[in-house]
């Protein structure tokens, strides 16, 4: 692993992955008869071209930070929480219940209540898969996938039933009261006399996301719990030896993970211009979180950067399909390509680069024992 220097691991690999994705994307654009250069320019414009567009990019980034952190925390315990999608949905349900029916006098209180409820619901939703993994060895990937389906079903049931205002047909809750609406960055900027971010929904929960990054960083690298999570994730047998309870760590890591995913709902329910919970509110962010965490190397700083990139990709993609005749499906293909290259095919890029460093590099930090394939036992 240490066969290549750290900069290659955190910078070179993602950049090469992105270049590969870009090359395939160009081929796709050419295949559908679109000038790739124009498309690229349009996407860039869509992502960061105006302060309004940038606002949307940041809004999506906020989502992806939460789900990326959620995946990363579980990753540190070697657990693959693929259920972010469902946890976001449940988080949305929690936030909705907390702010829709309680007349909070001020948005700060609503933010607090909504965050706590969203985190709680997200955590609860992963609690059963976590328990099954910890106690019964049922694979977390399988169970969380199933829980995604259940979450989707439950949410639609709630939105189409108990939470649907009478006479409305949209699968959504009522719009939250104005008092619980979180201030958008636009509102905040106006306090300083600036007119930025237009009517984009980027809102104060971006700071909640950045705060969560700091929290996760401190948790993972500066607390006993984080130490135990990482130790357990690196080697379950060693954790056993050290008296670290597999059951506890599995539960705690997944609960934190679920809570983080759930908190994304604060952004996409209470934070949007028209605060309400709609069907499929997660919009795939739970899955994108996997790519974000992989690309960000499970580190909060990396996650922020990766989330920004994916946010730009999403916002730019929306612009691309709105401003051209490129079918939306092609845009989805492009987005999926980037996710695939940076997420799933990470190893495909990594190992040749690693080999290259082994062969030609002489700046590697690996000491002899690391690279010599001597039998140890």
């Amino acid at each position: 692993m240490d066969a290549m220097p750290k900069w290659a691991d955190v910078v070179l690999v993602p950049v090469v992955s992105l270049l590969l994705a870009a090359i395939i994307s160009i081929i796709v654009f050419v295949a559908v008869g679109q000038d790739p250069w124009e498309a690229l320019k349009l996407m860039s414009y869509g992502a960061v071209g105006t302060s309004d567009n940038l606002g949307y990019t940041l809004f999506y980034m906020t989502n992806f930070i939460f789900t990326g952190l959620a995946v990363a925390v579980a990753f540190h315990a070697a657990l693959f929480n693929i259920g972010g999608e469902g946890q976001v949905l449940l988080g949305g349900l929690g936030a909705t219940l907390a702010v829709l029916f309680v007349p909070w006098p001020h948005w700060t209180l609503a933010l607090l209540a909504g965050s706590v409820a969203a985190a709680l619901f997200g955590a609860l939703w992963v609690a059963i898969p976590a328990y099954l993994q910890a106690r019964r060895g049922s694979h977390i990937v399988i169970t969380t996938i199933m829980f995604n389906f259940m979450a989707s079903g439950l949410l639609i049931f709630m939105l189409a039933g108990p939470l649907k205002p009478v006479g409305e047909m949209q699968i959504a809750t009522a719009v939250f009261p104005e008092t619980v609406h979180l201030p958008s960055l636009h509102d905040i900027a106006q306090l300083f006399g600036l007119d930025t971010f237009g009517r984009s929904p980027v809102n104060i929960s971006i700071f909640l996301a950045l705060g969560a990054c700091v929290g996760v960083w401190a948790l993972i690298w500066h607390t006993r719990l984080g130490y135990q999570i990482r130790a357990f994730g690196q080697s379950e047998s060693a954790a056993r030896y050290a008296g670290i309870s597999a059951v506890n760590i599995t539960m705690i890591a997944l609960l934190i993970s679920g809570a983080l995913a759930g908190m994304m709902a604060v952004n996409n329910t209470m934070g949007i211009n028209n605060p309400q919970l709609v069907d499929n509110a997660a919009g795939g962010a739970g899955f994108i979180g996997i790519a974000v965490a992989l690309m960000g190397r499970n580190h909060p700083v990396g996650i922020v950067i990766a989330a920004l990139l994916f946010g730009a990709l999403f916002q730019g993609g929306a612009e691309l399909s709105a401003a051209t005749q490129i079918p939306v499906q092609i845009v989805v293909v492009i987005q999926a390509l980037v996710i695939m290259f940076t997420g799933a095919l990470d190893e495909m890029v990594r190992s040749p680069i690693q080999k290259m460093f082994l062969r030609y590099g002489n700046k590697g930090v690996g000491a002899p024992a690391a690279v010599l394939p001597e039998g140890e036992e």
């Binding site: 135990q228 010599l372 039998g375 140890e376």
Partner: protein, 535 residues
């Protein structure tokens, strides 16, 4: 095959100037050897000396940066293992590459089938297997399923696989690591037989005794270089050890007689049944006193590991264990490693890579491993005091001469010996009442072995109780004040090192008490296979 060059001038294998570097590390540097046909050639060296790299080049796993390989005098390119097989080279790996739920015959034929249909291959295979088995006295049942047969037999299947592929040159990598002394003897008889039939054998090992017992010539490797090649009859163990390490080495542990005190550890009727419902430890009782080392000998997989795990607090057991007269909780459910440590038990586990260390953690983080709840490693009640741990790590590494003395380096970047020193430092510096030590020198270079042994003896002399588990008889004999032998989960007997020898312990390790009549190797094998769903 036809390449039965009679004792002539053409070497079976000749390597000329082989070099191989992994990044900055020169694993093999300008290595040249000649191995004559019909001989057994030993290659000895410490871990990391480059033995396995060299053999991997010969078997086509790596490509040498420079140098040439001659097989029977002919320059041969070996880009992959198929080419190696075609050139008549067979390899028996340290970790067997067998399909556990296939039969012997299926394993032998696997990958060397004649065509898409299996049946004709199996028919031909059965015939050839019978012939080979008889010719070399391998004595293997073709229809036995791998997971049902003993380790020694499995190894013979590996040899058969190579012979079936018409290998004339056999490379064996640390072949005796998993064998009892009797099984090792059996292997050596087979190797001699193969040699008589004209096969050429290369034996890679770090055990001096094996080199002396069986090889004709021996090459010593150190730090990627072939430092010397000598006739085995012209050397002796001390000389070889010196050539390996590069300085004089004390092969015997220097220690005073023990002065045992109070009973520290009292194990009574301990039984362990693992998750797969296998009865691992069967009614074991023993005591360890302050100021003594109790060595537990045995072939690996006979319950020693489980015994250590129970004592270390992470395996369930029934029976009774008293530490300083107070019972230990044996439920194992609470992952009780923490309270064990609090009670004064330190543990150098058998498997430092999978238990004792987190290989991707840096050395300093590993220093707190298991003791991460210690008050001295905390600050503000909430956070870990990373700088305190780092400082502590640096001190320990300096005291135990860990090289390189850089606590920021990941554990995996240290050599086996230095990794072990990190673990030993962590555990011994706790000043425990009872130290559990499993395989303290497995995969550890000779220089570090010496140091680690001295530390263990020093702890004993400080009046602590030590329970040592090792599969290396030499180590058991050298370190222990008393020896207990485990076989099939039971303690076969206790001996004083002064009143026993390797032969007697070897028999006990195979489940024979000394009152049993003389035995055949088959009997031992059966016994072992029967006892050990061992692995």
């Amino acid at each position: 095959m036809s390449a039965q060059t009679q004792g002539g001038q053409t070497p079976a294998i000749e390597l000329k100037g082989i070099s191989k570097a992994f990044g900055p590390v020169q694993a093999n540097k300008d290595i040249s050897i000649r191995v004559m046909p019909g001989t057994i050639h030993g290659i000895i060296g410490e871990n990391g000396a480059g033995k396995s790299t060299l053999m991997s080049i010969l078997y086509g796993f790596y490509k040498a940066d420079s140098g040439e390989i001659y097989i029977n005098g002919k320059l041969t390119e070996i880009p992959d293992s198929d080419a190696a097989i075609a050139a008549g080279i067979g390899m028996v790996f340290q970790h067997f590459k067998l399909v556990k739920n296939f039969t012997v015959l299926e394993n032998v034929v696997l990958g060397a089938e004649d065509g898409p249909m299996l049946r004709p291959s199996l028919r031909r295979g059965r015939q050839q297997l019978k012939e080979l088995s008889e010719e070399y006295g391998l004595n293997v049942d073709p229809d036995a399923v791998i997971e049902d047969i003993g380790v020694g037999m499995q190894q013979r299947v590996e040899i058969l696989k190579a012979l079936y592929r018409q290998a004339d040159i056999l490379i064996l990598d640390e072949p005796t690591g998993v064998l009892t002394p009797a099984e090792a003897d059996q292997l050596f008889r087979i190797l001699n037989r193969l040699k008589e039939e004209g096969k050429t054998i290369i034996l890679i090992t770090h055990k001096l005794r094996e080199i002396m017992d069986i090889t004709d010539t021996v090459s010593v490797m150190r730090r990627g270089e072939m430092t010397s090649t000598v006739k085995t009859t012209d050397t002796n163990p001390a000389d070889l050890a010196e050539r390996m390490v590069g300085r004089k080495v004390l092969l015997r542990v220097d220690k005073k007689p023990a002065t045992p005190g109070e009973v520290v550890l009292d194990v009574r009727n301990l039984d362990v049944v693992d998750e797969k419902d296998v009865h691992r430890v069967k009614g074991v009782s023993f005591q360890v006193r302050a100021g003594e080392i109790l060595g537990i000998a045995g072939v690996s997989g006979n319950g020693q590991s489980e015994l250590l795990e129970v004592l270390g607090g992470y395996e369930e057991a029934t029976g009774e264990i008293l530490l300083n007269g107070q019972p230990l909780d044996l439920s194992g459910a609470k992952s009780d490693g923490q309270s064990r440590r609090a009670r004064g038990i330190a543990h150098v586990p058998e498997d430092r890579q999978h238990e004792g260390l987190i290989m991707n953690f840096s050395a300093w983080e590993n220093t707190a491993f298991g003791y991460h709840h210690d008050e001295k490693y905390q600050k503000n009640g909430l956070l870990m005091d990373n700088s305190a741990i780092l400082k502590d790590a640096q001190e320990k590494m300096d005291r135990f001469d860990v090289r390189p003395p850089n606590p920021l380096l990941a554990a995996k970047n240290f050599s086996g010996g230095n990794q072990q020193k990190i673990v030993v430092a962590r555990e011994i510096e706790r000043d425990p009442d009872l130290l559990l030590v499993g395989q303290p020198t497995r995969g550890v270079d000779i220089g570090a072995i010496e140091f680690i042994h001295q530390q263990i003896v020093a702890l004993r002399d400080a009046g602590k109780a030590i329970l040592l588990v090792s599969v290396e008889l030499e180590e058991i004999m050298g370190l222990s004040d008393r020896i207990a032998v485990m076989f099939d989960g039971k303690i076969m007997g206790e001996r004083l090192p002064s009143e026993t020898d390797e032969k007697e312990l070897g028999l006990l390790m195979a489940g024979m008490t000394d009152t049993d009549a003389p035995h055949s190797i088959e009997e031992i094998e059966q016994n072992l296979a029967h006892a050990g769903e061992a692995e």
